[in-house]
């Protein structure tokens, strides 16, 4: 299932390439001219663009997502995880999309991290 993604600035560009290769529509922060945007602006922008925001800043976006939830504000989907190899992340994201056949509108997903 093809989805629309918006990747945060610090995400490996290899992940963008991989997602694009598997047919998703990917927008990078750098290409959207949002390099210096504040955290909340990122989520607002992704919502406006109807894109799933993927970030590796869990601790701060978790707080923002919870606050939005309390305020009944909807976003177009938020995925976060800590840093790991792009190939592995790509698999997680595909697996997460498969779990939600109706799309992940207003769903906040924490992607798994392999523990060694």
């Amino acid at each position: 299932m093809a989805a629309r993604f918006y990747l945060d600035h610090h995400v490996n560009v290899e992940l963008a390439t991989r997602l694009e290769a598997s047919g998703h529509d990917v927008l990078k922060t750098f290409d959207a001219n949002m390099d210096t945007a504040e955290d909340e602006e990122q989520l607002e922008f992704a919502t406006k663009e109807l894109r799933i925001l993927y970030t590796q800043n869990i601790q701060h976006f978790k707080v923002i997502a919870e606050r939005w939830g309390r305020q009944d504000r909807e976003h177009a989907g938020l995925m976060y995880s800590s840093q790991q190899r792009a190939a592995l992340l790509h698999q997680w994201i595909e697996a997460a999309l498969d779990l939600y056949p109706d799309g992940i509108h207003n769903v906040t997903l924490s992607l798994p991290v392999a523990t060694h």
């Binding site: 490996n12 560009v13 290899e14 601790q59 701060h60 800590s82 840093q83 924490s110 991290v113």
Partner: protein, 209 residues
């Protein structure tokens, strides 16, 4: 610097000053909300007129236990060649070190220990903190890339600056090295941030799938 110290072939004894920041100044620890007003320790082999141009400044914020040390050029026109400029213009409202506001007090020699070796290369303006960008973590100035992200990419991409640049092509080598340099200087803080992120991420073990 070497030329200046050549006379008599002896490093001049540093004169140390402890400086209290003026009330309107920001704390140098980088948190814009911090009001503890860093203690700025200025070490300079020069005195009076020279001190207005070239200063070795080391700061340590009492509240956040962090600080920087650097040789910075405080002259309004940037007369000290080869030194990093003060991160913000001297005249600017945000300038952390405004000489007009500084109270300069001599520190007795017995209390002068603990100052770090001063690196001429450290550029204070490459790493910054902004409260609403990445929640106030140290970031590469003008981006949304935390120092901890650079460290993570560095570890995953073959431990090389080139590897980090492959992952984040918009960064310059200078920015990457500054971030890694920051990590070396503030290891505890960044390691803690990485650990916090890992603890928050959903755990996955091979047997649970």
């Amino acid at each position: 610097m070497a030329r200046r110290w050549a006379a008599g072939n002896q490093r001049p004894k540093f004169q140390s000053l402890r400086v209290a920041l003026g009330r309107t100044s920001r704390c140098l620890c980088g948190w814009s909300t911090c009001h503890s007003q860093s203690q700025v320790l200025i070490r300079s082999p020069f005195w009076s007129a020279e001190i207005r141009k070239r200063l070795s400044v080391s700061t340590q914020c009492r509240e956040h236990q962090r600080g920087e040390s650097a040789m910075i050029d405080l002259s309004p026109k940037g007369e000290s060649r080869g030194l990093p400029r003060s991160p913000v213009p001297i005249e600017s409202e945000l300038c952390p070190v405004r000489l007009g506001e500084l109270r300069v007090v001599r520190v007795p020699a017995s209390r002068q220990r603990g100052t770090k070796r001063i690196s001429k290369d450290l550029d204070l303006s490459i790493i910054e903190r902004r409260v609403r960008v990445m929640g106030g973590s140290p970031i590469v100035a003008g981006t949304r890339v935390r120092v901890s992200d650079v460290v993570g990419h560095y570890r995953l991409e073959g431990r090389s600056v080139a590897g980090v640049k492959r992952a984040l092509p918009f960064l310059t080598s200078k920015q990457v090295s500054a971030a890694l340099d920051y990590y070396v200087r503030h290891r505890k803080e960044i390691d803690k941030e990485i650990a916090t992120e890992r603890a928050l991420a959903a755990p996955w073990r091979p047997d649970s799938t």
